[in-house]
Amino acid sequence: MRRWLVFSFLAALVAAERFVHAHHPFWWQALPAFALVYGLAGSVVLIYTAAGLGHGWLQRREDYYGDDAS
């Protein structure tokens, strides 16, 4: 039930694009549901970038810097 509410809200937002008058300086902003797709794709890309950086390179155990960082 809740899931459908969320999806219908998002669908309404996409539909609303047709009724608002907008001025698009860049061509991609005129694509249908661009912001929605950008938000979705952007969040997935950011999460995977961060996870890759963290697990592959930057994350360490909490006591890595010795006592003062415990």
């Binding site: 950008y38 969040s43 415990s70």
Partner: protein, 571 residues
């Protein structure tokens, strides 16, 4: 009253923190900070405090539209911060925080390079004590690292200022502009300010030190240092191209590191880096809309970031836990804190009706207007990341999730009151942006509430929420820390300095042995036999083999004399 320096009022109020009677002290501190706010509001446009110092005119107070709007938000957040800190256990923290706030006001109202630098350094020293008032071994160690970085940054700034003045420029502050980009002074000053603005890779002091301060100390720290740096950038470096990209990198850098962060206050600290990125980009773009956006965003950012630090501080105060992996289910126990946190989270995410919406979008609109498609897209991406970790991840892990049968310490009313006031201001600015826009120093017209803008913002946030829901399992994980550029001075510097000291000592000892070998040739031959006999008997003192203090002193004197001679001849 219309010519009183507001920093002076805060310095005087700091003395009140010594008052031993709690009620009297609380009233005094609140009254003092309110007076300072009133002093900023009443400052006349022609108010001046000048001192004549041996041929120079030092201007401690100079007011224009830019300094007025920064002064206003600094004074306002000092009132809220003191209200939040009324019950803080360490009175020294309140005094340090007030000196810190006063120094930030001093930077903002400084009319010349000298007073700018003095207040700049005072800000560093006072904020160091705010960090140390965290009172833990971690805050002590982080404070020393903070001192190391800010001493270096302050020295860069001082070198830049001295070079700038030596080139014959006047002492009064003036924009360095685009023409100066080849001068060393330009880059030194920019680097010194960039340290305080937390531009990567010079930013690691911020997520290192801010979360180690006390619950109330972080609120002050989150407000002043970085935003005073934004003010200086806006005054001196408007339109510097390098800042456009520095800011864009900052915005994304902070977001990516915040996603990895397990400590809720370090997460927020990385979002200071990210949000200041928008302001730095705005300053770099340099158009009236961009500069207005940078100033408006600094104003709004100070309010919602203080609110976020207050709310996570209340969680820390109540639970004693700061790692997100140890929190959960707090929404049921601290509903008011959760609600106020969400106001701050929606503000920083730029949701319509909240104050982030009316300021962040100005910077993005300015990038669009300046035909910077990549900058505009990357800043939008940083907004996605902001909503992802501050708006979704942190509340999901702290306030939602399974209950942990908490034994909570009750949160004092003064803390809740300060949070409520900050939340109200966030909402009020979001609903009535005209009040802030009228105070912006650069003439630009901007209307955030167009239907298309609201729809696209809601779509962006909706898409982000969808992405979060799909990938939320990725954001749990085990407790861990993330390495940042402070690795260089935390891991590499100690062995490097030990190696340097050991090598210098070995070199000194070798030098000493050479000297002793030579000495034997210069002494009375009749004594050689006596010396040899003493040495064989083991009576020689080991102290004689140590490097004496006199030698290094002699070297320092010789080098100094050489440099002095050189400058006397070359100058």
């Amino acid at each position: 009253m219309n010519g009183l320096h507001p920093a002076l009022l805060l310095f005087l109020t700091a003395l009140l923190a010594a008052c031993p009677r709690p009620r009297l002290r609380q009233v005094g501190l609140l009254a003092g900070t309110l007076l300072a706010l009133l002093a900023v509001l009443r400052l006349a446009g022609d108010a001046r405090w000048s001192l004549a110092l041996s041929g120079y005119t030092v201007e401690l107070l100079r007011v224009d539209a830019l300094s007025r709007v920064f002064g206003l938000i600094f004074a306002l957040i000092t009132v809220l911060g003191i209200l939040y800190a009324l019950h803080a256990p360490r009175r020294g923290e309140q005094a340090a925080a007030l000196v810190y706030a006063g120094a930030a006001l001093g930077v903002v109202f400084a009319g010349d390079w000298l007073s700018l630098f003095v207040f700049w350094e005072l800000m560093a020293v006072a904020s160091l004590f705010v960090v140390w008032c965290g009172g833990t071994p971690r805050s002590r160690a982080a404070g020393f690292r903070y001192l190391l970085v800010h001493a270096a940054g302050g020295s860069l700034l001082l070198c830049g200022i001295l070079l700038h003045l030596a080139a014959g420029h006047p002492l009064a502050l003036e924009a360095l502009g685009r023409a100066g980009e080849t001068e060393a002074a330009f880059w030194l000053i920019l680097l010194g300010v960039a340290v305080n603005a937390a531009v990567p890779p010079l930013h690691a002091w911020l997520p290192d030190a801010y979360p180690e301060a006390s619950v109330s100390g972080s609120v002050f720290l989150s407000a002043f240092t970085t935003k005073a740096a934004v003010y200086v950038l806006a005054r001196l470096f408007a339109g510097a191209e390098v800042l456009v990209w520095a800011g864009t990198v900052m915005a994304l850098y902070g977001v990516v590191f915040a996603l990895l962060e397990k400590d809720m206050r370090r997460l927020l600290a990385y979002h200071i880096v990210s949000q200041v990125g928008y302001m730095v980009t705005g300053v770099g773009l340099g158009t009236a809309l961009a500069l207005s956006g940078a100033v408006a965003h600094a104003f709004c950012h100070i309010l919602y970031k203080a609110l976020l630090f207050m709310a996570t501080g209340a969680v820390l105060y109540a639970t004693g836990r700061r790692r997100l992996t140890e929190l959960g289910g707090l929404g049921r126990h601290l509903p008011l804190v959760a609600l106020l946190y969400l106001v701050g989270a929606l503000s920083i995410s730029g949701a319509p009706l909240f104050n982030g919406f009316i300021s962040k979008s100005m910077v993005i609109a300015a990038a669009t207007e300046a035909h910077r498609p990549l900058v505009s897209l990357l800043l939008e991406l940083a907004s996605v990341g902001t909503f992802l970790s501050v708006g979704l991840k942190l509340p999901y892990l702290a306030f939602a999730g399974p209950d942990r049968s908490w034994q909570l310490r009750p949160v004092p009313a003064s803390m809740l009151l300060a949070m409520g006031a900050a939340a109200l201001l966030c909402l009020a600015l979001g609903l009535f942006p005209g009040w802030l826009y009228a105070r912006l120093p650069f003439a630009a017209s901007y209307h955030p509430y167009s239907a298309a803008h609201v729809v696209s913002t809601l779509q962006l946030l909706g898409g982000t929420a969808l992405g979060f829901w799909l990938c939320r399992a990725k954001l749990h994980g085990t407790p861990a820390i993330t390495l940042d550029t402070d690795w260089w001075y935390r891991k590499l510097l100690p062995p490097a300095s030990r190696w340097l000291i050991a090598t210098a000592r070995q070199a000194g000892e070798a030098w000493q042995r050479c000297g002793e070998a030579l000495l034997a040739w210069g002494q009375n031959p009749a004594l050689v036999g006596e010396r040899l006999r003493r040495w064989q008997q083991g009576a020689a003192k080991t102290d004689q083999a140590r490097l004496s203090l006199g030698l290094p002193v002699l070297w320092v004197v010789l080098v100094f004399a050489g440099v002095a001679l050189y400058t006397a001849i070359a100058g």
